[in-house]
Each structure stands twice: as C-alpha cells, then as structure tokens.
C-alpha cells in the first residue's frame, strides 16, 4: 500500500468513525466503544512486544488515564476531548519512568517489573481516598459528560488514529531497529542504535496510547474505582488480542480485538443462562486458537492465500 492510498483509507476510516455511531443502536454503540478501547490497548501492547518488551502493566496506563480524566473533569470541568492531553502526557511519562527504572531488564524480569508497577498504582489509588475516592470509587461530573454518539465517535476516532500511528511506525526505519531489539539489544547497540532511547520512546508511545483507552472508559461509564481502573483483565485482553490476531503485525491486534470481542459476546448471549459456561467456552476457544494458530488469524489468512494461489497456478498448468 503506497502512502496516498494509506491516507485515503485513514480518511475514510475517520469518516466512518464520525458518521457510524449516529446509526448504531445503543447495544452496538456500547460494543463499538468497548472494541475501540480494546484496540487501543492491544495495539499499544503489541508495539512494546514488537521491541521485545512484554508488558504486564497495561492496566497501569489505563488506570492513570482514567483517573486523570475523571479528576480533571471533576476539579476544573475540563471537556472530555481535552482530558486526552494530560492523560497522554502522564501515560507517556509513566512509560518513560518504566523504561528508566527497568533499565536493561528483559523478558520475564521486565514483565514482572511492569506488573509490580501497575499493582503499585492500584494500591496507591486505594490509599489516597481523598483524591480518588478510595475503594468507594469516583463519579465523573455528570453534566459535562458527552452523549453516547459523541463518545462512540470519539473512541472510534482514537482507535483509527492509533492504528494509523502503528501503520506508519511499521513503515518507518525505526521498525527495523525495534524488531532487531527484540532479538538482541546489545547487537543493535553495536550498529549505532541507542537501545535505551528506543526503549523509552516505545514505552512512552505505548503508555500514551493505552492511557487514552482509560480516558474513554472513564467518560463512557462515568464511574471508576481502583479495582476496575487497574484491573488485570485489561492487561490480559491487551495481550490476547494480538496473540489471537497476529503478533507483531499492524492488523493483528485489530482483528484479534474484533474476534475476541465477538467471541465473548456470542458465548455470553448463547450461554446466557449460566455465565460460567459461556466464559468456559470462550476460554477454550481462545486456548485452541492460540495453540493452532501460532501466527494468529493474520498468519492463517496468509497461509490460506498462498495455498489457494498455488492451487490456482496448478489448475492453469503453470509451474
């Protein structure tokens, strides 16, 4: 895809994001908003994974974004779209801090550190009830909350922007450096790349994007407490989506997010009478999906396309 076509696709996607919510019934509109937040965290998680940084702390970014939005809305009645800015700065700053503190830790050690930092944020949020409302939670000032359509549009636009950023990043020369960092940070250093700086860059970007998801969720639900804002489930779905869709790819996290959201909804509706069975089926499908599609839906599609291409060539008698 050349860059003019890419821009056209992005423009079209923005248009859809702006118009579509006005035609969606409330149920689907809620789903679209939740899907957008899932895409945000999934793409953001995938960005870090692409550079070899496995994060277990994405709920930390989410919670930071959510509390920033809620507190600013309540304190100075900041409009919803503007809260994105301080939330992204804080999320990005937390990303930089994470990169700085973890230093050269890799793999499991990095993952555990991120988990610890996200948990620390949750505990802090519980411990300062004057600011966060503690375990009782916090309501976002209702009168400045936007309507459902606006909120869904806003969420979809952010999702489109995020995918666009990840697409352009994948086309840039930084992609090589990031991919190479996944193999060996000392080897890229020998090529004149400063791995510490790239690490900070990618955690800052990833953190800023993930905190946007928290902002959307805070405005959309209008209520948050430390348990929900720093929920481990956020981190887990942020990594299942890219794993299911296709790790390290641009479309993987998006397709994965759509797939697991659809799956979870379908199992919930179908096995509605007992929530446990639905979750069990959902879990089993995910496990088998990851087991039998190691390169995700995107990889499966690539293989299928190659095979049908070969078969077509055979049928026409070409070698």
């Amino acid at each position: 895809m050349n860059s003019t076509r890419a821009w056209m696709v992005i423009a079209a996607a923005f248009l859809v994001a702006l118009v579509l919510p006005h035609f969606l019934p409330p149920g689907l509109s809620e789903l679209a908003t939740r899907l957008s937040t899932l895409i945000l965290v999934a793409v953001s998680w995938n960005m870090m994974a692409n550079a070899g940084l496995i994060s277990l702390g994405h709920s930390g970014f989410w919670g930071l974004g959510a509390y920033t939005a809620a507190l600013l809305a309540n304190a100075v009645h900041m409009p919803f779209w503007l809260t994105i800015v301080p939330a992204m700065i804080l999320g990005g700053g937390f990303g930089v801090l994470l990169a700085y503190i973890t230093g050269r830790l890799r793999g499991l050690f990095f993952a555990i550190s991120t988990l610890a930092m996200a948990e620390a944020l949750r505990v802090i949020a519980l411990m300062v009830p004057k600011l966060t409302g503690g375990a009782e939670g916090l309501f976002v000032f209702d009168e400045i909350r936007p309507g459902r359509e606006t909120m869904t549009s806003f969420a979809l636009c952010l999702a489109v922007a995020t995918v666009a950023i990840s697409y352009f990043l994948s086309k840039s020369r930084f992609q090589y450096a990031l991919r190479a960092m996944r193999d060996s940070e000392s080897a890229v250093q020998m090529l004149g790349v400063n791995p510490a700086r790239f690490r900070m860059g990618v955690t800052a970007l990833s953190g800023a994007i993930a905190s946007c998801a928290g902002v959307i969720s805070a405005w959309y639900t209008g209520y948050l407490d430390p348990g929900a804002a720093f929920d481990m489930k956020i981190t887990i779905s942020a990594q299942i989506a890219p794993l299911f869709g296709g790790l390290y790819t641009v479309s993987g996290p998006v397709i994965g997010a759509a797939a697991i959201m659809t799956l979870s909804e379908l199992t919930r509706i179908y096995f509605g009478y007992s929530a446990g069975v639905g979750l069990l089926v959902y879990g089993v499908i995910l496990v088998f999906g990851v087991l039998f599609m190691p390169s995700g839906v995107v990889g499966l599609y690539g293989r299928w396309r190659n095979r049908s291409k070969r078969r077509g060539a055979l049928a026409e008698g070409r070698p």
């Binding site: 090589y176 991919r179 193999d183 000392s186 250093q189 020998m190 090529l191 004149g192 790349v193 791995p195």
Partner: protein, 273 residues
Amino acid sequence: MNTPMSAATSTPMLEIDGIRAGYKDAVAIDGVSLRVAQGEVVCLLGANGAGKTTTMRAVTGLIPLMKGTIRYQGEDISNMPAHDRVTAGICLSPEGRQIFPDLTVMENLVLGSFNPRARALRKEGLERVFTLFPRLLERTTQAAGSMSGGEQQMLAIARALMGQPKLLALDEPSLGLSPKMVTAVFESIRAIASSGITILLVEQNTRAALTIAQRGYVLSTGQVVHQGTAEDLAQSEMVQKAFIGSAHLHGGRRSRRDRRLAAAANGAPHAAG
C-alpha cells in the same frame, strides 16, 4: 624485535593504554596496552579465555573500563557509549556473528547503516558490500538466519561495513567456518584492508590471521605477553608453542599438519617437532 612499530608520524587510529575490564567481580583483562596506526591491520591472538573478546568489547564500548584509557584518533573515548562510537566510526562484526535471523539480508544491512553518518551513504555502502560479497546480492530478500554459516559471517562483516567504519573490529570471523570458507572470508578482509580501512582483528586461527595482519599482539590470561610484526610472530617460538599447543586439542592429525606448517614457516623442517 618486540618493540611496537613506531607511529610517531601521525596520531594512531586507536591507542589503548593500560586498560582493565571484566564482568562484575571477574577481571578479564588487566593492563592491556596496544596501538593501531591508520590503515594498519592488527591482530589480537591468544587461546580461549585470554581476553581477546573482552578487549574487543572494551574497544567498542560494550563493557565499561575499570581503569586505563582508550583514545581514538587522538580523542579520549573511554566513557563514550557504544552507539556513539559507531557513529564516530568504530564498527564491530561481533563474535558469533549476531545477525538478526528473522530479518532479511537487506534489512540487516540497512540496520548496519542506522547511524546518521552512514545513513547518508547507504547507497554507496550497499554497492561496496555487494561488490565485496556478491553472494549477498543473490539473497537480499532471504531471512538471514536461513543462510549458511559462511554467508552469515559475510553478512556480519558487510553489516559492520555499512556503518562506514574508519576502524573495523572483527571478532573471530573464522569461527565455525569450513576451511574453504575461512579462505574466502579472509580474502574479503584483505580486500577491505586494501581499500584503506583500519582493521583490528581477533582470531584463534593464528595462521590465517598472520597472513593478513601487519602486526599482532598475543594475549594470555588478560595481559599482553608478546607483540611484534606478523613475520616476527609467525617465527616466534612462543606463538608456535601456543599454536601447536592449541592444535593438540583438535587431535593428532591436525596437530601433525600444523606442526609441519609451523616448522616450515620457521625455515627449519624438524625444529618444531
């Protein structure tokens, strides 16, 4: 015979003065001093664990110095981070190649020219490495990890060359290669040297190293124990001892052949037996 070549004519490319380096509490090299003049090919010889690779890592900045100084083109770079040394012109082809197996050959090469000075010269750099290693040109879109060991070594050297080095550091380029491949790789290194690039070469394959180097240093247990011109070293009893000693480890046949070769180099057919 053991005095280093005079480099008083100009500032040396690299001047290492009494460096100590290692890993945590283990000091691997202590008091190593050496100099490499502009356009020279200098080899570091020594057995396993002598400190060759540690010296190389200290020169390229991958491990910090505990003591001593490293000067590059007259400038003290002892505390310069590794990635800045690449931009300054010190490029390393690391031990064990360390290419990126999942990236294509072309992507590996492009990464080699990541530093801003080399990026501007990427086209010329690609031309140069493809002239030097035509085999890589046939494999630009292939995953680097799927190539043979020799081709991967060529890629590692080519990638270092893409960084537009003034000082090319080669760590064990013959490691794990067939004798035929060793010859091919050393032929390429000779071509690189004749194009005017200064080379610091670490090798266990003493014989091959001494055919292309002008001078050499022998390391043992973290110290320079011997130095001189390539001819001096090839004839020195000490080097021969290390040479034959290490060859013993590879079994009798190789050892006999090496002894014969070493004796022939010495000009006395039965002296080394």
